[in-house]
């Protein structure tokens, strides 16, 4: 089992999410999470895909993904060089333990965004491990309901995937696009 996070720039066209999902289904690649949203460019959407690869090679997955005409650029997002975040909304009904929960919330740098009928709704943003740890810490107080976003990731510093699109550089091959080891390679 090996986990990889991919950032994928796609044309903001109808059906593009279905194309990506269809490819993953057809080739039996396992997705842990997929988050998609708009970017600074209204023509381009960005997907962050967390893959759980068993028996598949990352380069092969990236090459297959890149064959989709609407896929503009792909890059792996290694944890060392990128910022990775998930969002959690969770409802807890702590009863007498309200103060304990509140201190927990503070410790995890999360916040209570709603309190109604003795139910606290807590919002947390963080790396997957932090979110998981918060959930474990809250579990003894009873998790009434929770929702988690897929992971999103962005490279640190000046590096930007959008600078590496074909149109941005007028480059004729994907082979040349990658300037880091983790980029797609032939």
């Amino acid at each position: 089992m090996s986990k990889h996070t991919l950032a994928v720039l796609v044309e903001n066209s109808p059906g593009v999410l279905a194309r990506v999902a269809s490819l993953f289904s057809r080739r039996a690649y396992n997705i842990d999470s997929l988050a998609v949203g708009p970017t600074e460019n209204s023509d381009i959407s960005r997907m962050t895909i967390v893959l759980n690869l068993e028996g598949h090679v990352l380069e092969q997955v990236m090459a297959q993904l890149y064959k989709l005409v609407n896929v503009i650029a792909i890059s792996e997002m290694p944890t060392e060089t990128t910022i990775q975040r998930e969002v959690l909304l969770v409802k807890v009904e702590p009863g007498a333990a309200r103060d304990e929960v509140l201190s927990m919330v503070k410790r995890f740098e999360s916040k209570v965004v709603d309190e109604e009928d003795g139910v606290l709704t807590i919002e947390a943003t963080g790396e997957s491990e932090i979110i998981a740890a918060l959930l474990e810490a809250l579990r003894p107080y009873g998790l009434k309901e929770l929702v988690q976003s897929g992971l999103v990731a962005l490279e640190r510093g000046r590096a930007a995937l959008s600078d590496r699109t074909l149109s941005a550089q007028g480059i004729s091959t994907l082979h040349e696009i990658g300037n880091t080891q983790t980029d797609y390679q032939n």
Binding site: A18, Q60, L174
Partner: protein, 582 residues
């Protein structure tokens, strides 16, 4: 372009766009949603051939494309018209054939309402097309058509579907055909990387047992001349896959035949024992490799392909060369010559081994003891009499394998078959498309009695449209390949493989009813005369019912899932490896 900037309906804009894309013929059937397009088609310079089933339109477009190297076009209405194209699209996707399919869609305000004849054909065909479109605005039609032809015909070719809502065809628009296509996410690499070429040349010069593993990409890239040049410089054995038959002449001294499940002993063994596979436009298909973990275990791999996703998909490549094969081989030739000045490998011993296998185990057959006609003999005689300039189109099954083994191919684009998808029923409509693309060439469909009964209605289309193809039905009254597997792996329990087609239907009467000449042959001594008679009829399609030996089997064979090392030359009979020094 005189129509440029004119006001017209979306339908007229579609037809003008197809004309601008250089389309000269399309195969299709009208229906409700596509009906607006058929009005301007009536006045267009594009020849529209009215087929009898949309699957036939799709395979005809494929046949046309395979023969001409141009992009084939088929057109159908929404719903069932579109879903009938699905098999042909999947077929074209697997064999990398450039076709564009135009489908009508229900009006945009009805999409999603389960309207009459509505099917989400864009969704349906997503995994079986190179790309597809759903167009609801007439202004988008010319761009979509231009992009569709660009995508279908460049890079690794493939099918592209353009689904157009009926109201987009009916509304007025200004016709503007784009002259320049920019796709942010699509730019196939044509020129190979110079370092990869040098690495490949170095591997070739170090190899003692090289083999050219040649796939259909050579034909698609029109690189057969360059291949010949490179092969003769290197002097290594050449094997041509099912999709590459004709890419290298069968008569050439370097050719060992076809590898794979029903390949020649020499071709299969050359790959197995090689120390370097020079892989050109081939994809390590399971029908070639057999059990992958035992395939060519001592070989390094040079993998040259235009599709980066083929690299390492099934087999690790020591050197990957991405690009158009014509450009790759042109670059490889001087690089190899430079290396050979330093050291040229001595292939004498390698050739002694492979030459011996080729001599000892030619692909052959025996005439049936019961006096019935040998199917292999029929196919061999068609090849000998019709010659290497003819085009041969096969269905799928035993007759397909025999055709690939016993037709002598000398030229590219003379062999059409459904290699990847294995589509029974491919032959008749694909032959129709081939004949339309090459009207002055003799086109033989070598078909099985099972395949023929899937798509023969297109003979009506052929008869009415002056498309005089010739069909040889290799009639063993069975789903022959399935029966062969039942013989080998199911103790001869012939569950549902007997078609009884020597009794029903009467293929001669059927041919006659469809406006074709119908001939019958059930004696070995008549085979030549009947083929010659079929060759003499050129004003209508000809169907010859060759009644052949039912129990003939395709040999050699590597059983599915087993190692190429376990190739059988006849039932329970392996080559005599002990007498071969390998």
């Amino acid at each position: 372009m005189s129509a440029h900037g004119q006001e017209m309906t979306g339908a007229s804009s579609l037809v003008k766009s197809l004309e601008a894309a250089g389309v000269d013929v399309m195969f299709g059937i009208p229906g409700g949603a596509i009906l607006p397009a058929y009005d301007p088609i009536f006045d267009s310079s594009i020849r529209h051939i009215l087929v009898r089933h949309e699957q036939g339109a799709g395979h005809a477009a494929t046949g046309y494309a395979q023969v001409t190297g141009r992009t084939g076009v088929c057109i159908a209405t929404s719903g069932p018209g579109a879903t009938n194209l699905v098999t042909a699209l999947a077929d074209a996707q697997m064999d990398s054939v450039p076709i564009v399919a135009i489908t009508g869609q229900v009006p945009s305000n009805a999409i999603g309402t389960d309207a009459f004849q509505e099917a989400d054909i864009r969704g349906v065909t997503m995994p079986i097309t190179k790309h597809n479109y759903l167009i609801t605005d007439p202004a988008d039609i010319p761009r979509a058509i231009a992009e569709a032809f660009h995508i279908a015909g460049t890079g690794r070719p493939g099918p592209v579907l353009v689904d157009i809502a009926k109201d987009a065809l009916q509304k007025m628009t200004t016709f503007k055909y784009p002259t320049n296509i920019q796709l942010a996410g699509y730019k196939p690499q044509v020129e190979p990387d110079a370092q990869a070429i040098r690495d490949a040349a170095a591997l070739i010069s170090q190899s003692k047992k090289p083999v050219f593993y040649v796939g259909g990409g050579i034909i698609k890239s029109n690189a057969h001349r360059e291949l010949m040049q490179l092969a003769e410089i290197v002097g290594a054995p050449v094997v041509t896959t099912l999709m590459a038959r004709g890419a290298f002449p069968d008569s050439h001294q370097l050719h060992l035949g076809m590898p794979g499940m029903h390949g020649s002993v020499a071709a299969v063994t050359a790959l197995q024992k090689s120390d370097l596979l020079i892989t050109l436009g081939a994809r390590f298909d399971d029908r070639v490799t057999g059990k992958l973990s035992t395939f060519a275990v001592n070989a390094k791999i040079i993998h040259a392909d235009i599709d980066p996703a083929e690299i390492g998909k099934n087999r690790f490549a020591d050197v990957a060369v991405i690009g158009d094969l014509k450009h790759i081989i042109k670059a490889l030739i001087p690089a190899v010559q430079t290396e050979f000045k330093k050291s040229k490998p001595d292939l004498t011993e390698w050739w002694r081994q492979m030459g011996s296998l080729r001599e000892t185990y030619p692909v052959g057959y025996t005439h049936p003891e019961d006096g019935s006609v040998s199917p292999q003999y029929v196919i061999q005689r068609i090849s000998d009499i019709s010659g290497p300039d003819s085009i041969y189109v096969a269905g799928v099954g035993q007759h397909q394998m025999w055709a690939s083994q016993f037709v002598k191919f000398e030229k590219p684009r003379t062999w059409l078959n459904s290699g990847g998808l294995g589509t029974m029923g491919y032959a008749v409509p694909a032959a129709m498309g081939a004949k339309v693309g090459a009207p002055d060439t003799t086109v033989w469909a070598i078909d099985g009695d099972g395949c023929f009964q899937m798509t023969n209605q297109e003979l009506v289309t052929c008869a009415l449209n002056n498309i005089p193809i010739k069909v040889a039905i290799i009639n063993n009254e069975s789903l022959g390949m399935v029966r062969q597997w039942q013989t080998m792996f199911y103790e001869g329990r012939y569950s549902n493989t007997s078609l009884e087609s020597k009794r029903i239907p009467d293929f001669v009467k059927l041919a006659d009813a469809m406006g074709c000449a119908g001939l019958r042959c059930d004696k070995t001594e008549d085979v030549d005369a009947v083929i010659k008679e079929a060759m003499s009829i050129n004003d209508q399609p000809v169907v010859v019912d060759f009644s052949v030996f039912r129990d003939a089997m395709v040999w050699p064979m590597v059983a599915a899932g087993t190692s190429n090392d376990d190739i059988m030359i006849a039932r329970d009979l392996a080559p005599d490896w002990d007498s071969e020094e390998l």
